[in-house]
């Protein structure tokens, strides 16, 4: 049976406190964060946060992209129409 690491993977001088359920490494009390009852180390938690954040950003970005595409079409037509109208007036 392999020897179990008893020191923190990020701080070799500190005793191990918990096992990160993402990367399966031993981490100290400072590095471990209990999130929804499961221990994670700081880098793995940051990675999860980024993935979750990116997932949340996409619907807004798609909405912005669609709005931009619609505005490009409307703007082009409106510019031409207003231009012709103004040219006829002056």
């Amino acid at each position: 049976m392999a020897a179990v690491a008893t020191f923190c993977a990020h701080h070799p001088d500190r005793p191990g406190h918990a096992l990160c359920m993402e990367c399966r490494r031993v981490v100290c009390a400072e590095c471990a964060t209990d999130w929804q009852g499961i221990n994670y180390c700081a880098p793995c938690l940051e990675q999860r946060r980024q993935v979750k954040g990116a997932g949340r950003a996409w619907p807004g970005r798609v909405a912005l992209l669609l709005a931009c595409a619609a505005l490009v079409v409307v703007l082009t037509r409106l510019m031409a129409w207003t231009g012709v109208l103004l040219a006829g007036l002056f």
Binding site: A57, P59, G60, R61, A63, L64, L65, A67, C68, L71, V72, V74, L75, T76, R77, L78, M79, A80, T82, G83, V84, L85, L86, A87, G88, F90
Partner: protein
């Protein structure tokens, strides 16, 4: 103690910012804005020349409008980079480096959305004349608000822009100052053209009479080019002023200005 929000304070900031970001970010801004200004100049001069017959040349007008809109998208990218450079210069107090190019996708899309909205409103409201400054202000605030965009969506940038409109007195003052600056810049651009024509007189083989006709006040294309040149000259200072204003407003909201003031006090005390 708190950073002032008067027109003079903002213009002071804009002057300092323009010096910090001058090389190379004003160049980037001009490079990306030049196609837009030339396309707009061509669009206006063609309409002017066609007059009442413009409706018979619908395809040409629509092609020029499409060209202008495409150039606006490119110009918006340049403005986003410039606004980010201004913001970095405000935060660090030093000339920004290549990190100015790292405009995030959310700020870029936010800026594009607001810029296209401002241009659409400009086209829709230009007949009213009085509402035109409002759309021009919106275009400037689009560049200033977008780098601070944290959440993507349609409502968040509109709310942020509306928040900047709360400081209406300063915004009106800024538009008046830049309107005067625009007229002065246009006069200078026109004089630069005439100076070029005068210097060209020393070069043999140039048809000065034809060029004098092209560069006369009766030529719609020349007038449109002068106005486009004035826009290019004023644009960096106009954008920098609005970025400075929005940054100061945000610093007041978050208390960042008080924190910076307190740090300055402590540093002075330690020294």
């Amino acid at each position: 103690m708190r950073g002032g929000l008067s027109v003079a304070d903002i213009l002071d900031d804009a002057g300092d910012l323009s010096t910090l970001v001058a090389a190379p970010w004003i160049g980037v801004l001009w490079l990306t804005a030049l196609p837009l200004r030339l396309a707009q100049a061509e669009f206006v001069s063609r309409l002017w020349a066609l007059g009442g017959d413009a409706s018979r040349h619908g395809d040409l007008i629509l092609a020029l409008a499409t060209l202008s809109t495409g150039a606006l998208v490119l110009a918006t990218v340049g403005r986003a980079v410039f606004a980010r450079a201004c913001l970095l210069a405000i935060r660090t107090g030093a000339p920004p480096g290549r990190e100015s190019l790292a405009v995030g996708l959310t700020p870029l899309l936010t800026h594009l959305f607001l810029a296209l909205l401002a241009e659409t409103l400009f086209c829709a409201l230009c007949l009213t004349v009085v509402l035109v400054p409002l759309t021009i202000t919106l275009a400037a605030l689009a560049a200033a608000v977008a780098p601070l965009a944290e959440r993507s969506g349609l409502l968040a940038p509109l709310k942020a822009t509306a928040g900047a409109f709360a400081r209406a007195g300063t915004l009106v003052g800024l538009q008046l100052v830049f309107a005067v600056a625009f007229v002065i810049a246009a006069a200078n651009v026109a004089v630069a053209f005439y100076a070029g024509l005068w210097l060209a007189g020393a070069v043999p083989g140039i048809d000065l009479v034809a060029w004098a006709h092209r560069l006369s006040a009766s030529s719609p294309r020349f007038l449109a080019l002068v106005l486009a040149g004035a826009c290019l000259v004023v644009e960096p200072f106009w954008l920098a002023a609005h970025v400075a204003l929005v940054h100061r407003l945000r610093a007041r909201e978050t208390g960042e200005d008080l924190r910076a003031w307190f740090e300055r006090l402590r540093a002075a005390e330690a020294a």
